[in-house]
Symmetry: C2
Subunit: 515 residues, 2 copies
């Protein structure tokens, strides 16, 4: 059985959620990180968990980065420390150094604090949102709840088309995780869809509108500079970021520098007032293997590093978005350059996809790249669903994408030796070896599907206690033979010891010399 | 449209198959490696393609390793060279050095030659087979055809239970790819399922029976030595290889050395007569993250290196099986040790799974590890299906496993810079950028699913020529904007050049200095 438990912090209103899996026999329960939030079905808005913490800090808004730099451990930081199983001071120090962010708009008090940084568990973002072609508000809220149920650590609302404001309002009010957006999409709607008509003022007003609603981080394509645009014209796939292509079109049409770049300090002042974090967008990310790590991509990355410093001067938290499509042998270079040029600000990558040839399976082509890039230090992974390049993800695609990415993230946690990560694997493997089928299902990342697959070939209840499964059948089961062996070996050792004693304590020849 | 084409070799009966994808417009067709074999539906046995080549070599059987060492390029080697797009001498030299194998039992003349080695395309094996609990012969042959249709390079028949001989006969006679087996399974059936009753004679007769039928490579767990068995008793998951656990049980029960080890030279003599290759089994591979790269695993690996040398003395081709469950940071060490201790004999790994916590998704947990281990030099990957640990794979699982592994293999080909590998990605990405939807589907690893996913949201035929898709809709399409940009930039450059000329050839300020 899996149930939600809360671990109390230093104050009564600080209760940190975990999913606790109870096991059979005398096996201790396993506690897992939990993103699902309070039960909220049908969605009627979540309680404002953080409201008292925010109120206590008084009328002048400051960011978590500001407090961390002052040496303060906020309740949000303590919450995160309990969640991650680390010291609160580590959380504070990593935020203060800019190596981690704790995205939490003061107008989104419903969110459960979480942290994004390479010293912490690797996080996963799920994209949802309406488009001009399909989707409605209720469906998007359902996708949000579904995504966090399966482990999404943040959700980006990428809505375009009509009802952007209303969709976002419903999402923020019902989200236990930070919400990210790309404000340029809504700004573009406001000017009738023509990039050339965009203005700083229209954009600024949109950012304020979204910050007021409670958006926790915003993708800003401020690194798409006028002079970088020509670097993309010889690419196989040009510019594949929507925001990047919009800003590139604006720059070329006006022959002026990107207004997000020229107004970056103004933006910082707005974001600081709400503690909205920057997600500095990679508008020039590669859209194909051929374009990976090219001049355009790397030129923009360097600019994002400059902007990071400016944001930090304003106490605004920053993470850096990354590609995209990258063959495996170029992944490490990406992380190394990002770390160096962006001063270790957390990296947040889309995949990367490690090949272009498998549309309909890009959750897999990219889970490979995501696991690797996270192992090298990427802090958050933006999921890719099976529908990538083909259509909008439905409920099943959202789940497939989240699970593929939770796998990549956990594999990276293991590879990085995150304290406690392997306990989950060990508990499941022990259950597997001991034929505790129900424990194995309950510990699985997706218990429903694991149970269903097992039941397809051995549906009877007794099979769930059987000491074999349908793969080998009773005669060939290596696990069963191996358990017999363990007993046999223990027995054999005992007999040998007795022989040894009986033989007058001659030096005992262990099994290993008996060939 | 995808169609099969044949490229002729130096003799009329040497015709190498490829899948050729015709593209629209003046885009050149793309030729892809093809494993599907002759059309054979319903299965009525395949033509004996290699019969004349085998007959020409006379009554005394020799292995491809023997011929390679003599400096001979056999028709099989030439076939492989054309398939891989490399010089026949490279094929010959890699086989001669033991760094590659060309598994092809003289009694399986229906097979289309292929090569397994780190200098060549990474290969994928699919496991099929009946078990005591389920499956019938026709269904297994259908799985074989299905697996090779999606790209399986070899197929292992792991049948246990009844009808092992008949199942294998049907599979070999209908297989265009090499067939592997694990003879100990059938030998165990012959002695009533009790490992203790196994004998060298029963095993030997089984190997001869299978070699006579045409099995191309055999997994032999000759490295499970008596003294290694106690090394497994403290593991989280003991011994998880069926063959490994059977031999360990035999060793302990008799307190004698593994008869596969003591009779290894005898086995070599049998295998040499048919040119059956060894796949030296990793009976002590880790079955969990906790057990990865442990003493038991590494002790056995070293023994497999010793056995490799013995096999080579008998001109028998060898590959080495590898794990299993390995966290990402321990994968490279595995390959490095295998290369060193096994004298660069090709490595053939099951995954590895990079975490234990996602039963029902182990095609993904392991595709991550498979891509990485292949990048580091593994020559063939044994697939894992979504049913791993839970049940027997059905048709859908076989496809899911093969495709996840073809993705891993191709990602590794790209990372290794295999000549020609990226042409496929480039062709697909160019089609994507130019909104050639039909070309994109036809170039996809799985055209059916890619097309179906696209049609879910934009089913009308005009959508397939539309310059946008359901993800962004017409207004936000980055690809469309990006194409406009390309034209715009070209136009802008021209105008600037004209200005420059008009201004009397002053030094032109390129866009990049106009910030």
């Amino acid at each position: 059985m899996k149930r939600k438990v809360y671990v109390p912090g230093s104050r009564p209103d600080l209760q940190v959620p975990f999913a606790e899996v109870e096991l059979t026999g005398d096996n201790p329960p396993v506690r897992l990180y939990d993103t699902s939030g309070p039960l909220n079905d049908p969605p009627a808005g979540l309680p404002a968990l953080r409201a008292p913490w925010i109120a206590e800090r008084g009328p002048v808004e400051r960011t978590q980065l500001y407090y961390a730099r002052q040496g303060v451990v906020t309740p949000e930081m303590e919450f995160v420390a309990i969640r991650e199983g680390v010291a609160p001071e580590l959380v504070r120090d990593e935020i203060a150094a800019g190596r981690a962010i704790l995205p939490n708009n003061v107008n989104h008090p419903e969110s459960e604090p979480m942290i994004i940084g390479s010293r912490f568990l690797v996080k996963v973002n799920a994209n949802i949102g309406t488009s001009a072609v399909s989707s409605d508000v209720a469906e998007e809220v359902a996708k949000l709840t579904w995504a966090t149920r399966w482990g999404a650590d943040t959700v980006m609302d990428l809505s375009t088309g009509k009802h952007i404001h209303a969709t976002r309002e419903a999402i923020v009010r019902n989200s236990p995780v930070p919400i990210g957006t790309v404000p340029i999409y809504q700004a573009l709607e406001k000017v009738g869809g023509d990039p050339v008509k965009l203005t700083w003022e229209a954009y600024r007003d949109t950012v304020i509108e979204q910050a007021e609603q409670g958006v926790d981080y915003m993708t800003v394509h401020a690194g798409v500079l006028l002079r970088y645009v020509p670097l993309t014209t010889e690419r196989v796939t040009g510019i594949v970021s929507r925001g990047g292509s919009i800003m590139a079109a604006w720059c070329l049409a006006h022959h002026e520098e990107n207004f997000l770049y020229t107004h970056f300090a103004d933006l910082c002042e707005i974001l600081a007032r709400y503690d909205v974090a920057f997600s500095l967008g990679d508008g020039l990310r590669p859209g194909s293997i051929a374009d990976a790590n090219d001049q355009a991509q790397l030129a923009e990355l360097k600019t994002l590093g400059e902007l990071t410093k400016i944001a930090w001067e304003h106490d605004v938290q920053v993470m850096i978005e990354g590609p995209g499509h990258v063959p495996m042998h170029k992944i490490k270079e990406n992380v190394d350059l990002q770390m160096e040029w962006c001063h270790e600000a957390p990296f947040y990558t889309l995949g990367p996809l490690t090949t272009d040839v498998a549309p309909a399976y890009d959750h897999i082509t990219s889970a490979i790249g995501a696991a690797m890039i996270a192992m090298y230090g990427t802090a958050m992974l933006c999921y890719v669903t099976p529908k990538e390049h083909l259509g909008l993800p439905d409920r099943d695609d959202v789940k497939a994408g989240v699970i593929a990415y939770k796998i990549a993230a956990h594999a990276a946690d293991l590879a990085k030796g995150h304290p406690g990560a392997q306990a989950w694997d060990d508990a499941l493997s022990k259950a597997r070896f001991e034929f505790r089928w129900e424990d194995q299902f309950n510990l699985a990342m997706d218990p429903d599907t694991a149970r269903a697959y097992h039941d397809e070939t051995l549906p009877a209840a007794p099979a769930k206690t059987a000491h074999f499964c349908s793969m080998c059948g009773p005669k060939f089961c290596s696990m069963r033979i191996s358990q017999d062996l363990r007993e046999y070996a223990a027995q054999g050792m005992r007999e040998k010891s007795e022989e040894f004693a009986a033989a007058g304590n001659q030096v005992y020849l262990p099994l290993s010399t008996k060939v």
